[in-house]
């Protein structure tokens, strides 16, 4: 409330000030018979001095902002490429802040110093090819460095993920995210949006899902009339159907018949290996759990409109586009707990945000990201079930202890690869 009062006060004072200024000015203009096109010496000097005052205030507030709010409120980059990004970002900031200060200072100092003074004539100086060459070549050279360094990073970031990288799919919809892990085979099950039903929200291709979808179209299900029923109603000669209803029924029928043809195509190209890929996938809504040091190859897709998967702490971002799969890879280097220590904030969580306008609740479309150490990650994996309902770590009782110890060792090696 306090700030509101201040604003109100500022506004009221501002309006009063302007009104007073106008009145004073009108009165003085009447008395002095001054032409508004001639700028009096006093006004020139005043504005010239204000240029200098403005420059100093501008710089002071810039420095204040830098000291108070730092370069980034996000903390250190939490991914391998992010460290590179931050290094390059800082280098670029050094360059542009230097340019900012240099050119703005020249501007405001010239604007202050070369104000019109009685008896001083401006210096006729239309061009100087040498000077102009200098300030073409120097920026070009600096930019060459920026371009080379930038493209080197860009090529690294966008290069193909290594074969050991774990494949994880991030599915986006209005207004949330779901993660799908590829399971022990590291292959994500296929998907097709036409298979999306209440029972198969992510359109995953399995024989059962194809059958289900076909059944929904042909026979129908809860809340949905199948082709059979619609045909029956259309052909029922004992009942009169309003023209409007008939039209919508026919439209619905046409759409479903088309869908059946499309689903039959999926069925025809289906082979049994697809079931195997899909069945050991693990679907985790609401949170994304990552293993420290693991290379991840994320694939993104969208159910409805364009979203953007923005992981600010990992310096990672990729749009999710309906009808098109996009990819981004990164390797987290600090667990959530380590990051909490670094940020000195015991509640800190990594976050995945939507960063492409996607509708009214765009601003709420988020998912927590948890980076775990080897033990925690293994323990979390143990609690997760795959798509067909078996445990993620599906080991027989006899071999469980050794297999888990092997996994733990592997995870420890992965986590250790990013230490130091």
């Amino acid at each position: 409330m306090g700030s509101k009062l201040i604003i109100l006060l500022v506004i009221v004072l501002g309006v009063i000030a302007i009104a007073q200024l106008v009145r004073v000015n009108e009165l003085t203009a009447k008395h002095t018979n001054r032409k508004d096109s001639d700028v009096p010496h006093r006004d020139n000097i005043l504005n010239a001095n204000l240029m200098l005052v403005f420059m100093i205030a501008f710089y002071a507030s810039f420095i204040w902002l830098m000291l108070k709010y730092g370069f980034t409120g996000l903390g250190p980059a939490a991914s391998t490429h992010g460290v590179e990004t931050d290094w390059l970002l800082n280098l670029n900031f050094v360059i542009i802040i230097a340019v900012f200060f240099l050119t703005n200072t020249l501007l405001f100092v010239f604007a202050w110093k070369y104000v019109k003074r009685p008896g001083v004539k401006a210096y006729f100086y239309p061009h100087n090819n040498k000077l102009e060459m200098v300030w073409t070549v120097i920026p070009a050279a600096v930019l060459a460095v920026i371009i080379i360094l930038g493209l080197r990073s860009w090529n690294e970031i966008t290069s193909e993920a290594s074969p050991e990288a774990e494949n994880v799919e991030i599915y986006s919809y209005q207004f949330g995210w779901t993660a799908r892990y590829s399971g022990m085979d590291n292959v994500l099950g296929d998907f097709d949006y036409k298979l999306t039903t209440a029972d198969n929200q992510y359109g995953i291709v399995t024989r059962a899902n194809i059958e289900n979808a076909l059944h929904m179209m042909r026979v129908g299900g809860p809340g949905e009339e199948g082709i059979q029923l619609i045909e029956q109603r259309l052909n029922d000669e004992t009942r009169v159907i309003a023209r409007q209803d008939r039209k919508s029924l026919e439209k619905n029928l046409g759409r479903k018949q088309r869908m059946v043809r499309l689903l039959e195509q999926i069925e025809a190209t289906y082979n049994d290996s697809l079931d195997a890929y899909a069945n050991n996938d693990i679907i985790v809504p609401d949170s994304l759990f990552l293993l420290k040091g693991q290379n991840y190859n994320f694939s993104f897709r969208s159910k409805d409109v364009i979203h953007s998967a923005y992981f600010p702490h990992f310096r990672a971002q990729m749009n999710t586009v309906p009808g098109m799969t996009t990819y981004f890879k990164f390797q987290p280097i600090y667990t959530t707990n380590e990051m909490r220590d670094k940020m000195n904030n015991s509640n800190f969580e990594y976050i995945l945000l939507c960063n492409k306008i996607c509708g009214g609740s765009h601003y709420k479309m988020k998912m927590a990201v948890k980076v775990l150490g080897p033990e925690d990650y293994l323990n979390w994996q143990k609690t997760k079930m795959t798509y067909d309902g078996s445990p993620w770590l599906d080991f027989s009782d006899a071999e469980r202890a050794t297999k888990e110890a092997e996994l733990l060792e592997k995870y420890q090696a992965i986590a250790a690869s990013v230490e130091g």
Binding site: S37, L131, K194, V305
Partner: protein, 598 residues
């Protein structure tokens, strides 16, 4: 070529004009320029108000405000709290109006119309009728865009770039219904208006220059308007096609931009389209558009800085070269808006390279401005203040472009407030400053009156402090990871309360400055309208300027010059030339014996 036919016997040709033909359906470029200015001023004020509405929400989220309720009513601000859908609507229409209606239609429309014939020595535009048509189409599109704010389901809500599928699917957001229909209709008409206008400008500059006005004697304003018009003619049709394809996707069941979508529980039939195609089409206009907005402002400020420094613009030919280079490059950089769409990394590299090249002609322009000021004899008219302000914002906003052009870095800051800060400073503030500078400088030419300088000073200092106060802190909000177009940042509260507190602190500061800057505009509006009616009568050449427009009589006449058209003997920047007794030599003054042309 009625204008040519009038030549020579113009003063006998004084026919009575009716109110309608003089003030409404006028074919006189000076009147049409003023019509553009007034319409754009209205639209600009609307867009500014919208920004105040959403700034209130951002600084004080969820707090009740009678002010919001007063303007937005119970429909969009129940209990004085802004509705989250309407928030997006406000952001969208704010951007659309500012970019297209104020800074494209308003800036080019006003000053190209006013200055092209006057500064090249022509009686009028090549086609007065098309010029009139261009304005009235602009007016119609403005009205349609304005009334879209009052539609029951709300105005367009998918951002000023209206990316499909969001903009194509009314199921996805309510503004994609009737609001989007109006947006698309308005823009289609706007584009037609802009094309007609631009063609007219190009033809006029090429064909109707007076005797002696060679291309290298044209003021930089005209060069800027010419290149701007060429950019518009080459790029706006692409946006029109993008808009038409979107209209087809929305109404005829085509799938240009739609593929494999399930929205609101409904599985759509569309397969095979690409929403990314729309982005390519949009930004093929969108990036040249940045320079359509910026170049006229740079042209105006070149003229104003030279005149008021009483010095020739430094490096005239380099300035022309820069304008041409910027114009050319602006067509091959659009992909830098799309680094995170999953585009081919190689293509991305090409766009990084071409984009960063633009920094070179931009740097040349800045250094040339600085050298023009150096050892000048600066006169601070309000126009000069705004022109100097423009150079500052062009630098401050320009340098951050280097980070955004670098694809590897763009990933980290794309679509955050860092971007919002960048383009508001480099494009918004610069172009608005250029426009204000233009209005103060050529007001005597438009209305035959002088504006009040002191009020102009107040206006400038409030505006520059206010606008920098708004946009400069946004860099820090962006670097803290705040995405743009968020209704509320409390999402960070549960994850990183430090980031959240910082965003909230700065958001309050930003909104306070926004309100101050908005109030500063009262000084301008008061000055503008007061001076039209009660300002001092302007002398013929109030700023002791060299260009041709100041050789026309103060009272407007149709055809601009009584009698013969002026003949040009020199470039427009002979200020403080050694050996001359006056510190300016109008372009119509013949070269003295032995005098070299600059």
């Amino acid at each position: 070529m009625a204008a040519v036919a009038h030549d020579g016997h113009h003063d006998h040709d004084h026919h009575e004009e009716s109110f309608v033909s003089k003030y409404i359906f006028s074919q006189d470029h000076k009147m049409i320029g003023k019509q553009f200015l007034l319409t754009a001023t209205f639209m600009g004020l609307v867009a500014m108000m919208l920004s105040i509405f959403f700034r209130i929400q951002l600084a004080w989220p969820g707090e009740s405000s009678d002010f919001l309720n007063l303007f937005l009513g119970d429909r969009w601000a129940p209990d004085g709290v802004l509705n989250q859908d309407m928030y997006l609507g406000l952001v969208t229409i704010h951007g659309t109006i500012m970019v297209f209606f104020l800074l494209t239609g308003g800036l080019s429309g006003t000053f190209s119309n006013l200055l092209i014939p006057l500064q090249i020595g022509a009686r009028d535009m090549a086609s007065g009728f098309l010029n009139m048509l261009s304005f009235w189409m602009f007016f119609l599109s403005s009205i349609i865009m304005f009334i879209s704010l009052f539609v029951e389901s709300g105005p367009a809500m998918s951002g000023w770039t209206i990316y499909p599928p969001l903009s194509a699917l009314p199921q996805a957001v309510s503004g994609s219904g009737m609001g989007m229909n109006l947006w698309l209709t308005s823009m289609a008409i706007f584009i037609a208006s802009s094309l007609i206008g631009s063609l007219n400008y190009i033809v006029t500059v090429i064909n109707l220059r007076t005797k002696g006005m060679s291309m290298t004697r044209m003021p930089l304003t005209i060069w800027a308007f010419l290149v701007t018009a060429i950019l518009g003619v080459l790029s706006f049709p692409v946006l029109l096609s993008a808009v038409l394809l979107l209209i087809m996707d929305r109404t005829m069941g085509t799938s240009f931009y739609l593929s494999e979508i399930i929205v609101g529980g409904e599985m759509l039939d569309n397969v095979g389209g690409s929403p990314i195609l729309y982005q390519h089409l949009f930004w093929f206009l969108g990036h040249p558009e940045v320079y359509i907005v910026l170049l006229p402002a740079l042209g105006l400020s070149s003229e104003i800085i030279s005149t008021n420094s009483r010095k020739p613009i430094f490096g005239y030919r380099a300035m022309i070269g820069s304008i041409l280079a910027i114009g050319f490059l602006s067509f091959i950089v659009w992909g830098h808006h799309m680094f995170v769409t999953g585009m081919s990394p190689f293509l991305g590299s090409v766009f990084v390279f071409t984009t960063l090249l633009i920094a070179i002609p931009s740097a040349v322009k800045v250094f040339n401005y600085l050298t023009t000021l150096w050892k000048g004899s600066i006169v601070y008219t309000p126009a000069m203040l705004f022109a100097v302000g423009l150079v500052s914002t062009f630098i401050t906003g320009g340098v951050t472009g280097i980070i955004l052009a670098d694809s590897a870095l763009d990933i980290a800051v794309h679509d955050t407030y860092f971007v919002v800060a960048h383009f508001h400073i480099v494009m918004g503030m610069s172009a608005v400053f250029g426009m204000f500078a233009g209005v103060y400088h050529w007001f005597p030419k438009m209305f035959g009156k002088l504006m009040n300088n002191r009020l102009g000073y107040v206006h400038f200092w409030i505006t520059i402090v206010g606008a920098y106060g708004v946009f400069f802190p946004m860099h820090f909000v962006g670097l803290a990871g705040a995405p743009r177009r968020y209704y509320d940042y409390s999402v960070y509260e549960g994850f990183n309360v430090d980031s959240y507190n910082m965003m909230m602190d700065l958001n309050v500061i930003i909104s306070v400055f926004a309100i101050i800057a908005a109030f500063g505009q009262i000084a301008f509006l008061y000055n503008f309208f007061y001076s039209i009616f009660r300002g001092q009568r302007a002398p013929q050449n109030p700023w002791n300027s060299n260009t041709l427009e100041w050789t026309t009589p103060v009272e407007h006449i149709h055809g601009n010059w009584p009698g013969e058209l002026p003949t040009v003997h020199r470039w427009p920047y002979d200020y403080s030339k050694p050996g001359m007794d006056k510190d300016f030599i109008p372009q119509t003054t013949p070269l003295m014996e032995g005098e070299e042309e600059h």
